[in-house]
Symmetry: C2
Subunit: 245 residues, 2 copies
């Protein structure tokens, strides 16, 4: 099996997390320092991406690259777009960077975007050679290449998918309160929801299982915890979130 990289195809992962306050995204720091001095010439950020190997399929590559850069495995991943504009790598600093890391800056590269969802608290980011960290989606640093476009597409895709599937739960811990679930929707759709109506609607969903457990060490009335049961979801009528917002 060859491990040659394909110079024309890359993947980028837009990995989202939710810290009960904000939607966050994982970014990799990109520091370009001249070969002669260590003074950085510029610093910005990229999504979690790289070129695929010749023997890999796209999602396989996305999972490998994510694991290599962050240690993260087995998360929800879904393809959402391919970008290939001829000028997408042609900004000056991107050209310098590509040259620096030994890529041909004139290569036409298509990139395929995957969005990933995970429970931000259960994941330890195991930093490798590059610094990877969480940024609030509405307070982003400068991004390389066309990664701002990529991210905007990912957010839109996340919004649509959350209305027609149960992926919302992959952003929460196994045990969560209804308020946390509500905040998740409020943050992603930028609205405020009525607490009583939200709870009424949610409690109807049979796959939302109340646990014999409450929050602890909170300085207010501790919340009832719930879990999502995929099993129950599969065998029941799959009520969804279409009318939540």
């Amino acid at each position: 099996m060859s491990f040659r990289i394909n110079p024309n195809i890359s993947v980028d992962c837009v990995v989202f997390g939710f810290d009960f306050r904000q939607l966050k995204v994982l970014l990799v720091e990109r520091i370009f320092q001249s070969d002669y001095s260590l003074k950085p010439i510029f610093t910005d950020h990229t999504l979690i991406g790289n070129h695929i190997y010749e023997h890999e399929d796209l999602e396989e590559a996305a999972r490998r690259i994510l694991k290599d850069l962050t240690g993260i495995e087995n998360i929800y991943l879904e393809q959402f777009i391919a970008l290939a504009h001829p000028e997408r790598l042609k900004k000056e600093r991107d050209q310098i960077w590509l040259q620096h890391i030994g890529h041909n800056p004139h290569n036409r590269v298509i990139t395929v975007g995957y969005f990933g969802l995970l429970d931000i608290n259960a994941m330890e980011i195991r930093a490798g050679s590059r610094k990877v960290s969480w940024f609030p989606v509405n307070k982003l640093p400068a991004l390389a290449f066309d990664h701002h476009d990529m991210l905007n597409h990912a957010v839109e895709c996340l919004k649509t998918r959350m209305r027609v599937s149960t992926i919302a739960y992959t952003l929460l811990p196994k045990k969560f309160s209804l308020s946390q679930l509500q905040t998740l929707f409020e943050v992603i759709y930028g609205t405020n929801l009525d607490k009583r109506n939200f709870r009424k609607k949610m409690i109807r969903m049979k796959y939302l299982i109340p646990l014999n457990e409450k929050q602890s060490n909170v300085s207010h009335k501790p919340a009832q915890l719930y879990m999502f049961s995929r099993e129950v979801y599969e065998i029941t009528n799959r009520d969804l979130f279409e009318n939540i917002i």
Copy 2:
């Protein structure tokens, strides 16, 4: 400007039409005949696709290729997937074909799928060098490459999109009856809908404008015709189809 083709990136258009009975898709005939005799060795079909040019963006290429093969312009097009499995062109007849048309059959090619929607009656297919024709989506001939996968993805994507946007109207003529609209939903979702309830729900939508016009030359009571107003849709509350099905 260079017109070199990019050997690694292709696009495929899954163009849907609705003839008031079935969902149909445009396919291109692929006839391989030996260089020495004219007897065809195999015949099958492909989606409407080709490689992009080096200077083109993806959608631009999709529109060009669609126009070249069918004469069709200015239709609704939307990207829905990228496929790049290493073995996707490795079936024997595909390899033979690639060689035949002068492509390197060992090239890794990523293809980006666009689905297109149009009013089947308003479009004249201007056949070029290749034969292009409509096939019912649930009665397909053998397809080349991974085009069956592609098409399945496109159908799923169409179903999702039809629930959260107004693209359904791009499959209908400008003037249409409520029964035609209902049949469209029934065909795509494989259900039967109650006529009275469907009409009640639809007539609520302010962007569905009744015209001073009825069907003619039909051997039954002629139907009231309606049009879709994008303008009204944009300025009103954008009620949609989420609960139609």
